[in-house]
């Protein structure tokens, strides 16, 4: 008569076995190789690395396989793993001006030093399903080779504008000042831009996309231009104290977006262009652009602009951008809440009893 409503060890054990079997799917179909995911699902891998805050394509691919392609779950796996890693050094800031370019475009100048480099993009494909990919018949894809190497000089658009004083100057931080690190320290509010940029770089792409979009639709307009989007590989350098100089420890692929935004000026500042910045691991243009929109939007108060829209509210944006936090807390509603519910049930029954008693009293008065 008293049904066992509570789960146990055995149920959890069986659930784990079932999800493992479901992950594998039909055993007659060959199992996915982690290398296949790494090589052929590069955008998924990039997103897991960026939001997982760990540059490791192999581990990201493994996480995607383990999570059956649920990228937020894969990001969670990578985050939980990275927290166990020892931190042996803090790198020098990467220099994206020295990037080995894979793609570089500017929407603000028709041509510019270094030229426009379209690179590989879906932008001008027609989104028609390619049924050849469905079978084994897809031929080998061979990229066309450029006639000449890229211009080694590929100055950033922002540097070009900066030199003319048309763009707000970006002052480097004091190098002795440690950079904020949300993986070590709690979020501080109000916070500095370094903390904000780290938060946005780890933020859920969908959340940033929607917020960035909202600014374009009038909820805190920022009048953005895609000053430059560049994607390619950059060297990561660390300074070993015993050596006294920086050593290159490897290359990472990143996508960088610098937005140039109109600014009418204030009593202290002349009219000029301002910046919004986005950076993400791997090929992640949508993320980098959305991030740049939101970064600029969050500067509204600092620039003395009107505020009040969601994308301009630092506490709102930074507190809700993390999909591992959000996913956990939203889904914790699955956990038993019978104690709280029982308490509420108890309360509602008493309130209803009070209500009925009051109504009966009122009815009696009315009858008299």
């Amino acid at each position: 008569m008293y049904v066992a409503v509570k789960g146990g060890e055995q149920a959890i054990e069986n659930s784990h076995r079932l999800i493992a079997a479901e992950r594998r799917g039909d055993p007659a179909v060959p199992e996915l190789d982690v290398r296949q995911i790494r090589e052929q699902m590069r955008h998924a891998v990039a997103r897991v690395m960026a939001e997982g805050s760990l540059y490791d394509p192999d581990l990201a691919a493994l996480a995607i396989k383990q999570a059956q392609g649920d990228l937020v779950e894969a990001i969670f796996l990578v985050r939980a793993y990275r927290t166990t890693l020892r931190r042996f050094a803090v790198s020098r800031p990467i220099d994206s001006a020295r990037m080995a370019i894979g793609r570089r475009i500017s929407a603000t100048f028709k041509d510019l030093p270094g030229g426009q480099v379209l690179g590989g993009t879906y932008d001008y494909t027609h989104r028609l399903l390619d049924h050849e990919l469905a079978g084994d018949g897809a031929g080998e894809a061979v990229a066309a080779e450029a006639a000449a190497p890229l211009d080694p000089e590929m100055p950033r658009v922002s540097d070009i504008l900066d030199a003319q004083g048309l763009l707000e100057a970006e002052m480097p931080d004091d190098e002795s000042d440690p950079v904020a690190d949300l993986t070590r320290d709690p979020l501080r509010l109000p916070g500095r831009r370094d903390q904000r940029l780290q938060n946005l770089a780890r933020a859920d792409e969908g959340f940033l996309l929607a917020l960035g979009y909202s600014t374009q639709r009038g909820y805190g307009r920022t009048h953005p231009f895609a000053g430059e989007i560049r994607q390619g590989t950059v060297a990561v350098e660390i300074e070993a104290p015993e050596l006294g100089f920086a050593i290159d420890i490897g290359d990472i692929e990143v996508t960088e977006c610098e937005l140039v935004n109109q600014f009418k000026g204030s009593t202290e500042q002349p009219p000029q262009f301002t910046r919004g910045y986005g950076l993400a691991f791997g090929r992640a243009e949508r993320k980098a652009m959305a991030m740049a929109l939101v970064d600029r939007s969050l500067r509204a108060a600092e620039l003395g602009e009107e505020t009040g829209h969601p994308a301009q509210d630092e506490e709102f944006v930074l507190s809700h951008s993390d999909n591992v936090e959000a996913s956990g807390f939203v889904q914790h509603l699955k956990l038993p809440h019978y104690i709280d519910f029982q308490s509420e049930l108890h309360l509602v029954r008493r309130l209803r009893a009070d209500f009925d008693a009051r109504r009966t009293g009122t009815d009696r008065e009315a009858a008299e």
């Binding site: 008569m1 146990g8 166990t84 709690p186 996913s327 914790h332 038993p336 104690i339 308490s343």
Partner: protein
């Protein structure tokens, strides 16, 4: 059969540091705990780490437990008062794996009790630690969503907003309509969220001989009520604080003094009430107490086979 939650000490999984977190991180958390104990009820920000369990599922409590647990500890984990709820099972398995400590379902045997939503019915003693999992550490959050504001309110001990909220309940409903996560004043200084425990449990917090630690992982806050600290539930002279009581008694053990879970038995509204604290209920039955439905051997409670 013994319950699966009763396990002996074993060797931990060598892949991870003892209790999963590295020693530096544990030290950082212990510092936050010490600060929290020095300023009872104050929410100490800490560098919460990403755990292999989801946010909102006890990561704060898990980090606190990981920071204070040693190989000789005996751990009890409960959720809704019960040891065999799935998330309690999951957290206990996690600690068994990464620490190898002995685990128990018996409150009296545990040195550390990690809990979600309940304080055990039987009083804990000196030396025991109760670790609460906290989803929203800020008691003022439902009134003021901004952290930058609520920190100021605490700094100025400005809790008028909360009194107004409780008063509005009285004005509208004739009584305070908060049944869980009922706000308390700690050491007459800080307003504190007792985590979503039912207000039924609030009186157990004051002047308690055991240490109470609260961990909020997602919000990255730790707070504490050291032993023998005053914890007062907010109320008004003409509307004094009271706790829930039931017309029923526990169907299995007959307890009239414990928090009861309502179990729906069929779709015709047939219900029964049983202790939410499974250990308390089992203890009472072992001592010979029998509730109205508890006599039949074939209807043994969940978790135990006859």
């Amino acid at each position: 059969m013994t319950l699966v939650m009763e396990t002996e000490r074993t060797a931990p999984d060598e892949t991870y540091n003892f209790a999963y977190l590295d020693e530096e991180t544990k030290r950082m958390i212990r510092r936050a705990i010490l600060k929290a104990m020095a300023v009872p009820g104050y929410q100490v920000p800490f560098g919460g780490r990403e755990m292999p369990l989801p946010y909102g599922w006890g990561t704060g409590g898990i980090q606190v437990t990981a920071a204070v647990i040693g190989p000789d500890d005996v751990l009890k984990v409960i959720d809704q008062g019960a040891d065999d709820t799935t998330n309690a099972v999951s957290i206990r398995r996690f600690f068994r794996r990464v620490t190898g400590v002995a685990t128990t379902g018996r409150t009296v045997e545990a040195t550390i009790v990690q809990t979600r939503h309940r304080i055990p019915e039987s009083a804990l003693r000196e030396g025991q630690i109760l670790v609460y999992q906290v989803p929203i550490p800020e008691p003022l959050r439902r009134i003021e969503p901004r952290e930058a504001e609520t920190r100021k309110l605490h700094a100025y001990r400005e809790y008028g907003l909360m009194h107004v909220r409780l008063y509005e309940d009285i004005a509208r409903f004739g009584r305070i309509a908060t049944s869980y996560d009922y706000p308390v004043m700690v050491n007459e200084r800080y307003l504190m969220a007792p985590s979503p425990t039912p207000k039924f449990d609030n009186p157990k917090m004051t002047a308690a001989p055991f240490l109470q630690l609260f961990g909020a992982g997602r919000e990255k806050r730790i707070y504490a009520v050291p032993p023998y600290t005053t914890v007062t539930s907010l109320d008004f002279d003409d509307h004094p604080f009271d706790v829930q009581s039931w017309d029923e008694v526990c169907a299995l053990c007959g307890a009239a003094d414990s928090f009861l879970d309502e179990v729906v038995l069929d779709d015709a509204g047939k219900r029964m009430f049983v202790c939410s604290d499974t250990d308390y209920c089992e203890d009472r039955r072992a001592a010979g107490h029998v509730g109205p439905e508890g006599a039949d051997e074939a209807d043994a409670p969940a978790g135990k086979k006859p």
